[in-house]
Symmetry: C2
Subunit: 216 residues, 2 copies
């Protein structure tokens, strides 16, 4: 499978491209915002496509030409300007979804936020609520398509080394999870069609990661 | 008809409540954010409901209890913090739409922005793009419902006195329009069921306002 990783230059994205390039059956195309980010991915043997998520659907669709799956792991993050929250976390995600349709790529994995429900928007501290709302609408948009989607809701992200031990379910208790393990869950989801049409939360836990993903 | 005006304390909202209260067949309920805004509307003989659009769907639905139509003319405006753009212009609008369903109010009039198309988001100056995107998603949400909606896309709003002369069509040339005339177009749409399921732009022009609305 060839996989377009949107937001490849983020920390989860970098872990994921590494996993894909280390695998036997898959290759990655890293979608990045700036040409100077390309060399990192070229050294891993991955393809690159330079597209800013503020560009149009057609530009993203061109980057997706010929791939078998798209992973959206771009994020302005909860601490960037709120203009980027709506233009990247919501509109960038929706444009990527529309680009998937245009490029006829059925498989789509969305890296979301831990809880993007209506209740979570209402309960969020005011500085965080816009981010939760943006992710909510992006997830809703994806679920309304007929793409083969998987929505992954990670807990609080850390930069610890991955442990390969997670807890994965529709609802789990709030907790932390290393970005490296999130990347491995994405990778595992690409290989497990049982995750299609599903969304689940993931935090650090006690189940071996690959078995946990298969159990979804 | 009893009409819930969401965003009543805005300039268009105040004009609209005035028109409704001056009419023979309609009465207004002004939804406002703060109790101290109530006296203005009470002096016009209108009911009031104090609800902040950052509250939940149920709170808005309570304000809509027993009304026959809802007008959404709240807006953080293009110059507020971008957190409010997503929480009010997008999420506040969507919650009001969901509240309409919950309160079984079929008629819904949305005051949108002049052009909320995908192309308009892409073409907007970066400071304005988040606002256009927020209005885009709110409009899309409304169009996907089975509410009896009308979406009004006014040109550049001014505080000039209304002239009662407008141009109204799916697409008109970009131009200005007094807020007072926009309020009159909303009022006219409430009385004209031919506007149901339609969206149109409005700028100052040469057609008498009521005839223009009837021609939609």
């Amino acid at each position: 499978m060839k996989i377009l990783v949107v937001g490849a230059n983020g920390q989860i994205g970098k872990h994921l491209v590494g996993l894909i390039q280390d695998s036997e059956n898959h290759t990655a195309r890293a979608m990045i915002r700036k040409q100077e980010q390309a060399s990192y991915f070229e050294q891993l043997g991955a393809e690159t496509a330079v597209v800013d998520l503020e560009e149009g659907i057609e530009d993203i669709a061109k980057a997706a030409d010929g791939v078998n799956a798209i992973v959206f792991t771009a994020g302005s993050g909860p601490h960037t300007g709120k203009d980027k929250t709506i233009l990247i976390d919501l509109d960038g995600a929706v444009k990527t979804i529309e680009a998937a349709k245009l490029a006829k790529v059925k498989r789509f994995i969305m890296v979301s936020s831990f809880d993007t429900s209506r209740e979570a928007i209402q309960a969020a501290p005011s500085a965080f609520a816009p981010y939760v709302a943006a992710k909510h609408y992006a997830d809703e948009w994806l679920k309304a398509t007929d793409l083969d989607y998987t929505i992954i809701h990670p807990g609080a992200l850390t930069n610890e080394d991955g442990t390969g031990q997670v807890e994965v379910a529709t609802e789990v208790e709030r907790g932390e999870v290393p970005r490296e393990d999130v990347a491995a869950v994405i990778f595992g989801s690409l290989d497990n069609n049982t995750t299609i049409g599903k969304e689940f939360q993931v935090v650090s836990g006690t189940s071996p990661l690959n078995e946990a993903v298969k159990s979804i």
